[in-house]
């Protein structure tokens, strides 16, 4: 009897494994991710999905899915998206930031990578939605610590206050998105002037934007007026455009290449192919320079994007 029971259990186990495997294949084929968590916050619907080892954070699922962040559970260091990897291109200009400011938490992969890279650096993260903070902690292995502080609030007043207090950051990442795009008050010239106030000559600013939209021209003109010149960084595989700016004149390309060689080994485990980046950074203007600059007085982002 015992043998029969054992056999039955065995068959049972194999069967359930098979079903699991089939289910996984089904989901993979349909790219229909399994929802493991849903949350309604003040600002949006937050959904956490998982396909195999790939877990993603989505905002506003009903209005068109947009993966905010994904992580590989079996390789959590690995940065899944181009734009998160591209956010580290600023390291070419500032290789040892000691104070880092990230506006917009998402799944927390950018600040976590910074913490891993620079254990002694102070990292401040501003996130407007406390539900996102909660989800990042529960589902994306994000942790607060002495060196990693999260402030729930709007990025702009935070930066403005930091400026009034005379605080400076070595590395600033602008990655705030609400609904469809960057909030209008974080696209303006006045905002960029406030960001400049928390930068030193050694600081670097990295802003994540989209390369497709009519705002592209307006945004580029605004950044150009604020910083004179900046690196425009795009990858053929990504719809994102990363702006890299500093107060000083930008360094010559050879310096970037050199820096990328020094960084290569350290960034490898995150999937950041840094040696490929220097040749992609350009100061050439590929936008319509006659477009109007965005200011607090004139920033109809929503309306401009529609056309």
């Amino acid at each position: 009897m015992a043998v029969v029971d054992m056999l039955r259990n065995r068959i049972h186990a194999i069967f359930s494994e098979l079903i699991q495997l089939l289910a996984l294949m089904f989901f993979a084929v349909n790219s229909n991710a399994e929802t493991i968590h849903e949350e309604r916050s003040k600002y949006r619907d937050i959904t956490v999905t998982q396909v195999g080892e790939r877990r993603c954070l989505l905002f506003n699922v009903h209005r068109g899915d947009r993966n905010q962040t994904c992580m590989m559970l079996d390789d959590p260091n690995r940065l899944v998206f181009d734009y998160t990897r591209m956010s580290f291109a600023g390291l070419l200009l500032q290789q040892a930031p000691q104070s880092i400011l990230v506006i917009g938490l998402g799944g927390g992969s950018i600040p976590m990578t910074f913490a891993d890279l620079f254990p002694s650096a102070q990292i401040d993260v501003i996130e407007i939605d406390d539900a996102v903070v909660k989800v990042a902690k529960e589902y994306f292995q994000f942790n607060e610590s002495q060196n990693m502080r999260v402030f729930v609030g709007d990025g702009r007043p935070f930066i403005k206050r930091a400026g009034l207090r005379g605080e400076k950051y070595d590395y600033i990442v602008l990655d705030a998105f609400s609904g469809d795009y960057i909030p209008e008050h974080m696209l303006t010239r006045e905002f960029l002037e406030e960001v400049k106030a928390i930068m030193t000559d050694e600081s670097v600013l990295v802003a994540n934007t989209f390369s497709t939209s009519r705002l592209y021209d307006h945004e580029s003109v605004t950044y150009q007026r604020a910083f004179n010149e900046f690196y425009n960084f795009k990858l053929p595989t990504s719809g994102n455009r990363i702006i890299i700016a500093q107060l000083d004149l930008l360094p010559p390309r050879e310096e970037l290449v050199e820096a990328s060689r020094r960084l290569e080994a350290r960034l490898d485990k995150y999937g950041v192919n840094i040696t490929d980046y220097p040749r992609r950074l350009t100061t050439r203007a590929d936008w319509d320079m006659s477009r109007r600059e965005l200011t607090d007085q004139y920033s109809p982002g929503n309306l401009l994007r529609g056309n």
């Binding site: 609030g153 702009r156 007043p157 905002f191 007085q297 004139y298």
Partner: protein, 193 residues
């Protein structure tokens, strides 16, 4: 409504674009209008005159000027002293919007008083006024959020609202004795603009 729609735009550099900022603005506009309705109604019981009525428009325009001219000097200290963006935006809304909005609120009940000559017409007149002022609000909202912000700067739109109010007030004062009723109806449209 034009001013209300721009309110978030004016406050966001200081207090952010969070939901609570919108909440502050709408709350203060509602409270100010409520107080305005009450005071306007009270005032209309004593010697109602088109002169006072016209002065409401001019007064609202004058008290709206700080929104254009003193925005930074009003909001900066508030932002510094009140860390919580919710209360910061609430106080900023009070200082910027409360007085002009209250005065605008006084216009509606006062209009009813000026236009009603027979008691049996009062419901009809009140209905007409609600119709006009709410229609004006709808147009102000639509125009501002769809077009004005695309064509003009925030302050230019505010100047437009201020000038409209002054013109409406002057028109009331000017035509006071001639075609009182018509002007009253005509200006009603600006009441909530």
């Amino acid at each position: 409504m034009t001013i209300e729609m721009l309110g978030a735009r004016i406050l966001s550099p200081y207090f952010g674009g969070s939901l609570s900022v919108w909440g502050s603005i709408i709350t203060i506009f509602m409270l100010a209008l409520a107080l305005g309705y009450l005071l306007g109604g009270r005032l209309s019981t004593r010697t109602p005159s088109a002169t006072i009525y016209g002065l409401f428009f001019v007064g609202a325009a004058l008290f709206a000027l700080p929104i254009i001219l003193l925005a930074d000097s009003i909001m900066r200290p508030i932002m510094i002293y009140i860390e919580d963006a919710r209360y910061g935006s609430l106080f900023a809304s009070i200082f910027l919007f409360f007085i002009p909005t209250s005065i605008l609120g006084m216009i509606s009940p006062y209009s009813v008083r000026l236009m009603v000559d027979k008691e049996e017409h009062s419901g009809h007149m009140a209905g007409l006024l609600y119709f006009i002022s709410t229609l004006g609000s709808a147009l102000g909202t639509l125009g501002t959020s769809f077009y004005f912000v695309l064509w003009y700067e925030v302050n230019q739109i505010l100047w437009g609202a201020v000038i409209s109010l002054v013109l409406a007030g002057v028109a009331v004062l000017f035509f006071e004795n001639t075609i009182k009723a018509d002007v009253t109806v005509g200006s009603g449209g600006y009441a909530k603009k």
